[in-house]
């Protein structure tokens, strides 16, 4: 037992690296976040409850969750399709398309925000066609969904792509030889194998969308009760010097985000373990 643990400590720097990691992590991340929760408790329970159940706050929670969910669903469907196309087919410009998928990771959110707003405005490149049909996109919930779809797309593609790449095609060939048609092959063989990856991508996109600010704030129009997302409401409270209120709203949001993060990490850890066993 002693020997075993000693064998792992042959390499130098465990104490130093762990000490540094834990101290930096605590100072930079953990203590600041703890301060937020402390601040949220400085107001009384009644006040806290009144803040987070205020009509306008509840409306913004609902809007944020609803639009994030729709965007994550759209991303789950089209992200999987794009991953499929990138893994299984060859076509001209594939490398370029593959690189382009990561643009939302690399593009600053504010830039994406003003670009999408301009495109989907009633006189914009795409918005004008919807305007003819009487549909407004910029400054409505649809605009928020479009911005969140832009932000979340790479998460699904990049989760599904490696799993599809590693998928052994011999089962599909066997199924085809046995007379299964392509729909059966997809839903009975491929889909079950990539479903955990789709779910992970969905959760990552959803989590990112919940907190997104830069790309949404320009396109949403920011109307209280209608198109006001939670991060914007937090900024509004801050500008009114209502620090307790801002902390309370943020604390509720953080709890949701943390639950999602733990679920995602647990899920990934579990699938990784399963992979190791097989």
């Amino acid at each position: 037992m002693f020997k075993h643990s000693k064998r792992h400590r042959v390499l130098p720097g465990f104490g130093l690296s762990m000490g540094y990691t834990v101290i930096y992590l605590s100072l930079m991340i953990l203590i600041p976040i703890a301060v937020l929760f402390l601040k949220a408790t400085t107001i009384s329970w009644v006040e806290f409850w009144e803040t987070v159940t205020d009509e306008r706050v509840v409306a913004s929670y609902k809007l944020t969750f609803y639009t994030s969910f729709i965007a994550a669903i759209v991303n789950a469907i089209f992200g999987t399709l794009i991953a499929w196309v990138l893994v299984r087919y060859n076509f001209f410009g594939k490398k370029f398309v593959d690189a382009l998928v990561d643009l939302p990771f690399a593009m600053p959110t504010a830039v994406a925000g003003i670009a999408l707003t301009t495109i989907y405005a009633p006189n914009g490149w795409i918005g004008q066609y919807f305007a003819q049909l009487g549909v407004k996109i910029s400054y409505t919930q649809y605009g928020i969904m479009i911005a969140l779809t832009f932000i979340g797309l790479p998460f699904v593609v990049r989760s599904v792509q490696p799993v599809l790449q590693d998928l052994d095609q011999q089962y599909e060939e066997a199924a085809a030889t046995l007379g299964a048609h392509s729909g059966q092959i997809f839903f009975k063989i491929i889909f079950p194998a990539i479903f955990p990856a789709i779910l992970t991508g969905f959760a990552l996109a959803f989590a990112r969308a919940l907190g997104e600010y830069g790309s949404v704030v320009f396109i949403s129009g920011n109307m209280p009760m209608k198109t006001e997302i939670v991060p914007l409401l937090i900024i509004t409270k801050l500008e009114q010097y209502n620090y307790g209120g801002a902390a309370a709203i943020a604390a509720v949001m953080l709890v949701f985000s943390f639950i999602l993060l733990f679920l995602i990490n647990f899920w990934q850890w579990k699938t990784a373990k399963k992979h190791q066993m097989t």
């Binding site: 690296s17 762990m18 301060v35 690399a106 007379g179 907190g211 830069g214 991060p231 620090y243 993060l261």
Partner: protein, 289 residues
């Protein structure tokens, strides 16, 4: 019975064979249309809007003093945040991947926290900590120090946001490589630093570079967190993304998109770098096999 079955199977396969190309191009078409509408057109729009009023105005918007001040501040912020988080990333990844200890998964999850925190909340956290009515506010004021609505706040918020980027890239790579090579180096009499610079660093260099690129892109492009702590003082605490916002809100669209195009260029350069790194690592993998 058997023959009819065989015929059925063959006919399915023939049908699949005939349908395959149609299906292929249909799927490619849908995928490319989606990417075109959601990703390529916005990118194109940035440059199109930026050059709408002519190239003269484009450059005027970029070399205007407030824009230059914003560019300087953004470069300064990235110049501090990226090295600090790179150093942290390497050290933390070393501790996490080369040793076994209890609570490793917990630690990794904690490192991921900034990914789950909304940028606005990240900014809020530091306002609550360092703001005038914050926990450390009175102490800072007594010593005549200003963090919120000043440059240090912007740097700290950026450090928070870009915290996990390098370490998250390194952990899977170093986990896969194990520690045999380092142990061999030590057995052969290498010092710890020799082992690190001659064995570990060459092994992780592409992953490290990739992490640095992503970290830099986020550091220069961060909007939400920086927006909360900056106070938007023109020429003083405005980063490039915040400058874009101000111009846009003043209906100075051409200038806003001109400055935004710098950030879009940064994004393109980031993607090109990323492709190069991926190509290099793929080639290295094949070389080893």
């Amino acid at each position: 019975m058997e023959t009819s079955n065989l015929v059925e199977v063959t006919s399915t396969r023939v049908r699949n064979f005939m349908l395959a190309p149609i299906r292929k191009w249909l799927l490619i078409g849908v995928a490319l249309s989606f990417l075109g509408i959601f990703i390529f057109i916005p990118l194109l729009a940035v440059f199109s809007e930026a050059l709408k009023k002519g190239i003269g105005l484009y450059f005027a918007a970029i070399i205007e003093p407030d824009a230059l001040a914003a560019i300087k501040l953004t470069l300064l912020t990235a110049l501090i945040a990226v090295p600090v988080n790179t150093l942290f990333g390497v050290i933390a990844a070393w501790g996490i991947t080369k040793f076994n200890f209890k609570g490793k998964n917990m630690l990794i999850t904690l490192i991921d926290l900034p990914f789950a925190v909304s940028p606005v909340i990240a900014g809020l956290v530091f306002v609550l900590l360092f703001g005038t009515s914050g926990v450390l506010g009175p102490l800072l004021e007594a010593n005549n120090m200003k963090i919120i609505f000043a440059v240090p706040g912007i740097v700290i918020a950026t450090l928070f946001i870009t915290f996990p980027f390098v370490v998250r890239e390194l952990i899977p790579i170093m986990q896969e490589q194990g520690s045999e090579e380092e142990q061999a180096a030590l057995t052969l009499g290498a010092s710890s630093w020799q082992m690190f610079f001659r064995v570990t660093l060459p092994n992780i260099k592409w992953g490290l570079l990739y992490g640095i690129i992503l970290c830099n892109a986020r550091a220069m492009g961060e909007f939400g967190a920086v927006s909360v702590v900056s106070g938007h003082i023109r020429g003083l605490t405005n980063t490039v993304p915040l400058h874009v916002e101000i111009l846009y809100n003043e209906y100075n669209f051409a200038a806003a998109f001109a400055v935004a195009s710098l950030l879009a260029l940064l994004a393109i350069v980031t993607l090109v770098f990323k492709s190069i790194v991926e190509w290099k690592t793929k080639r290295n993998d094949h070389g080893e096999r």
